[in-house]
Symmetry: C3
Subunit: 256 residues, 3 copies
């Protein structure tokens, strides 16, 4: 990027997605995009690199934001969060003038294992430099883009809610695939029982922040992304509950 | 920050403070500030987020540096190192025009768990853009700012020095809360015994750099921050001594 | 750097080299430099800091790139990759006006354990600001620069190739010190046996990308740096083979 646009402001959102975890990458991107300035986002979690999966650039509807990356579901949740996809193109590798690295021009390139460097970053540089999306490749129907399964959030037995763990942050807070609006009728945060699917439910206290909890006391709050989250004060709720991302947590009504 | 000031130079000092470790954050900030350019520092280690603890901005005396963060002791050692606090204000959340994220404006905000994003960064953006400190909130008496206990550095029995471990760096060097000037009369680096409190003392060789030590030989030097530090050559003194941050190390006179 | 040149674009190549691992640092730098823009590279993996080892700045032949760091072998492979060393100087600490930190000017400096901060970064700031290389210190003969052993890549018994593991990346891919051109006559990627030295050989499938492999199937490909690499699809080849950096892997002809 700096070779093409030396003074371009660059923000590193994260380099800490686990290898190949497209789902975690898509959710991290979805959380981040509402806070980004206008510009181009390169997102690469790409276990299918070098296969027939497409590389794409996606213009978000109603936002000055373009997302570039593999067509494996990584980009769609972020675009959907911001308003949906206005237009999309398949990236054509032949389009990038001057982007062959010295390694590749030595004739020892030809690898198809690092599109982040060889395809997506050059495309982003062109877009950031003013090249129109349409120049990067043929338009595609946004409805043909690959999509990941939506995180589970469904009514369960007895008026309960079953919600997938979308994120365990570095503090061990357990974010669920549900906002307040997804609670079934008759279920509120206070009082609430919660448990990993198949385990004995525990009472969780409705709080507004971590310090409202006593030592070892499990809490539930609406987190800073508008999602329900289970937490402890100064400790890891994920460790306490024994849950990891993609697990299902059951929320149910607690006896008064 | 980039939404308000797209071209602002931004330096990431560290993202590696352990969750909730205000003390470690305050010491890392104190080590860093002498090397920073003029500007605004946002520091967030904030286990009390969302409680009555204040958010503050602090103008350092005699330096073109403003520190922004929670009033929990995080900022004071850095300001003290540079010359003390000239003025301080309590941050008022109502002051920030245009800083409501798209998430918050969707009505799913209201969380009080991420002041780093929702309060401190917007305040820093305003300050970096030229807003006067006084516009961010009412002035407060700097002496009312929360302070952490000063790391232990005291005379011990028999002319010894008891000093707290302020930092174990990534190499395992053990920085102590003492410079050369804090050694009691009659105690010098050569020869020196040192030990975690309650353990058998070991001889440490006075050196000027790591490579002055033989394999497995314990050393003591004045480190690059002017503090005494215990070290090994190419290995972790913290692991060798079994000490962690906040432990007390006893330095005493070695027999010749 | 920001105190001298507030608006200078800065790229962090990596902060993840293991403490003191000059070899790993030199290889990471060698992989990175073909992709860097014009400028100055500061590289610091420096277990000999404070000893008689020189600090150097090296102008790469035919490239607008200057490398700054310790004379311990860290810089030479990168310079060699780009075309060799045009000129080199020994850095003189007396040259840097205005670079004494507030800490050092307090008289508590004098440490010789952090040349990255106290010598190499100031030198890089001067170079990036336009100071000529020759002003930073006396010229030295590039052939006198310290060099690390070249990673092993040699013919083995029975037409085999013995190659050192130069890098295990975060996915567990095992990069070897060999490109396709180093395969002995009669040895090709298909079919191929490979094994850590002294262990039973395993068949590796020649592929062009990870997704060409079935579950648990070991593959060999020319990686994105033009080197042979052993890999699995969605798993760590290094863990599967039990190899780490500096190990020797034997490649040999597989029965058809």
């Amino acid at each position: 990027l700096r070779r093409h646009l030396p003074a371009l402001p660059i923000v590193d959102i994260t380099h800490d997605i686990s290898p190949g975890d497209v789902r975690a990458g898509s959710l991290a991107l979805e959380r981040a995009v509402p806070y980004l300035p206008e510009g181009v986002v390169v997102a690469v979690v790409d276990p299918g690199v070098g296969t027939a999966r497409r590389g794409v650039a996606v213009q978000v509807r109603g936002a000055e934001l373009t997302l570039v990356g593999p067509d494996n579901g990584l980009l769609v949740p972020a675009a959907t969060r911001l308003g949906g996809i206005a237009t999309a193109v398949t990236l054509q590798p032949v389009c990038w003038p001057g982007t062959r690295s010295r390694v590749s021009s030595d004739g020892i390139g030809g690898a198809t294992t690092f599109d982040g460097r060889d395809l997506f970053a050059p495309a982003a540089a062109l877009l950031a430099g003013g090249t129109a999306l349409a120049h990067l490749g043929p338009a595609i129907d946004p409805t043909t883009l690959a999509r990941l399964p939506t995180p589970v959030c469904r009514a369960g037995p007895g008026g309960s809610l079953e919600a997938e763990v979308t994120w365990v942050d570095r503090y061990g807070n357990v974010q669920l695939a549900a906002g307040l609006g997804r609670l079934p009728v008759g279920l509120s945060l206070a009082p609430l029982l919660c448990a990993p699917a198949g385990q004995a439910p525990r009472r969780a206290k409705e709080v507004h922040t971590f310090a409202d909890l006593g030592p070892g006391q499990l809490g539930v709050l609406v987190d800073s992304y508008g999602r329900l989250a289970l937490c402890l004060n100064g400790a890891s709720a994920a460790a306490e509950l024994g849950v990891i991302e993609t697990d299902i947590v059951v929320l149910s009504r607690a006896p008064l």
